[in-house]
């Protein structure tokens, strides 16, 4: 399955598949919470949508509905118009300062 976007929809992405120890819903909330800790610095927020999709929003109210968590980073870069690079020292410093996780 593509690492960037799950192709099946209905959130079959490998991060949140059922075999993981936490109940699937708990997995989703954990993923959303952690993703928001990163997205906050880019003026974005991710929310659960009816338990099977996600809504990514900007501070100005622009929104995008995502079928799969794998699509969130690409969508976030498009909405924020900034690259989101996990190797970026500034991002890592910000995450450490806010005690990410």
């Amino acid at each position: 399955m593509c690492g960037l976007c799950g192709l099946l929809g209905g959130d079959q992405h490998w991060i949140t598949k059922e075999e993981n120890p936490l109940p699937r819903r708990q997995q989703r909330y954990a993923v959303i919470r952690l993703a928001n800790e990163v997205l906050r610095g880019y003026g974005l927020q991710l929310m659960d949508f009816q338990g099977s999709a996600y809504v990514l929003s900007t501070l100005t109210g622009r929104q995008e509905v995502l079928d799969d968590i794998g699509a969130v980073w690409m969508a976030a870069q498009q909405l924020s118009r900034r690259p989101i690079d996990p190797l970026d020292p500034a991002l890592l410093a910000a995450l450490e300062a806010q005690a990410y996780g």
């Binding site: 593509c2 960037l4 490998w14 993923v31 980073w73 996990p86």
Partner: protein, 333 residues
């Protein structure tokens, strides 16, 4: 063979890749003549390139011929996905013999990432096939510094690296080439072409999709170091405590999103909180295979080991990013 539900086992696919002039076509010819090919379907780019005329018994469908070895050989015109789907349909309808494996030749300049993505992501192909191994043929006489980005992508994606033209190379050249390949891709086994079709080499039916192979923990024991070879680096992150799966998964998806084209290979066994056995992770560029939960560890050790092969990135940056996102301190070797 069908399981209890009547569903047949997915057919194993061997992807045969190799740069222009690597010796891939010569190996392919030997494959087509080999008796083991009798139970295979081989998809090639162009019949003329391989010189099949003396091997052909009959044409069984447009662009599909039956060879003396019993092998079904199909020339791919257009989309790979369509050619594969059609071949599977022909097998189902009895138009071609019931082959048991598929060998897929890529073009010389092909980056294997999109091909693997086709096999793993397409809903029809994923049901009927599974990737058994990626075999990459390399010229023994290769000169450092002359490789293209696609060459590194092919080598990085390989499970088996076959060194060809060994009769044309000196002992020193063969040794240098082998060492270079082992440094570039510690996750692959390296064979001489003379061993490729033996029982031991077994590139036709060997299945390296077993996520426990190779045993990456040996890399830490041997002190594997990341190498800078023509801009390609391989390094292992090793950590002893358990990972939270969601933290690791989110980090990996972000890393792939930002740097997928630079990540030639990711392969690892992880100690994940809440799991008895390890979780195997395997990726090529932007593509992550569905992670697999294994029943048991290969040894008594419970340390997580992840091998990264990449270009254009710094190992230290990768390590720091991993630590911040997963909250885990890793040793980098």
């Amino acid at each position: 063979m069908a399981d209890a539900t009547g569903r047949r086992e997915p057919l194993p696919v061997v992807v045969l890749t190799g740069f222009l002039g690597s010796g891939k076509t010569s190996l392919l010819k030997r494959v087509l003549e080999h008796e083991a090919a009798g139970r295979s379907a081989v998809l090639i780019n162009e019949f003329g390139e391989v010189g099949l005329d003396h091997l052909i018994v009959s044409e069984v469908a447009p662009d599909v011929v039956l060879l003396k070895s019993g092998c079904v050989c199909c020339s791919v015109r257009g989309e790979l996905r369509d050619a594969l789907a059609q071949l599977l349909s022909q097998r189902e309808r009895g138009i071609v013999p019931p082959f048991e494996r598929i060998i897929l030749e890529t073009t010389g300049l092909a980056d294997p990432g999109p091909i693997l993505a086709t096999l793993l992501a397409d809903t029809v192909l994923r049901y009927h096939t599974r990737l058994a191994q990626v075999v990459c043929v390399v010229d023994a006489c290769l000169a450092p510094g002359e490789q293209h980005a696609e060459w590194f992508a092919q080598v990085g994606a390989a499970d088996t690296l076959v060194i060809s033209k060994t009769d044309l190379a000196s002992d020193a050249q063969r040794g240098d080439t082998r060492r270079r390949l082992e440094q570039l891709n510690p996750a692959a086994r390296v064979l001489d072409v003379t061993d490729a079709l033996t029982a031991e080499g077994d590139i036709l039916s060997g299945d390296l999709s077993d996520p426990r192979r190779p045993d990456l923990t040996r890399l830490s024991a041997q002190g594997h170091h990341h190498h800078h070879t023509s801009g390609v680096t391989s390094c292992c992150l090793i950590f002893d405590h358990q990972l939270e799966w969601v933290r690791f998964g989110l980090w990996l998806t972000l890393l792939l999103s930002a740097h997928g084209s630079r990540l030639l290979r990711v392969k690892g066994l992880l100690n994940v909180a809440g799991h008895e056995g390890p979780v195997a992770v395997h990726g090529v560029q932007h593509l992550i295979h569905p992670p697999e939960q294994l029943a048991s560890w290969p040894s008594d050790e419970r340390r997580s080991t992840v091998l990264f092969i990449f270009t254009g990135l710094q190992a230290a940056d990768l390590e720091r990013s991993f630590q911040v996102f997963t909250g885990s301190r890793a040793a980098r070797v």
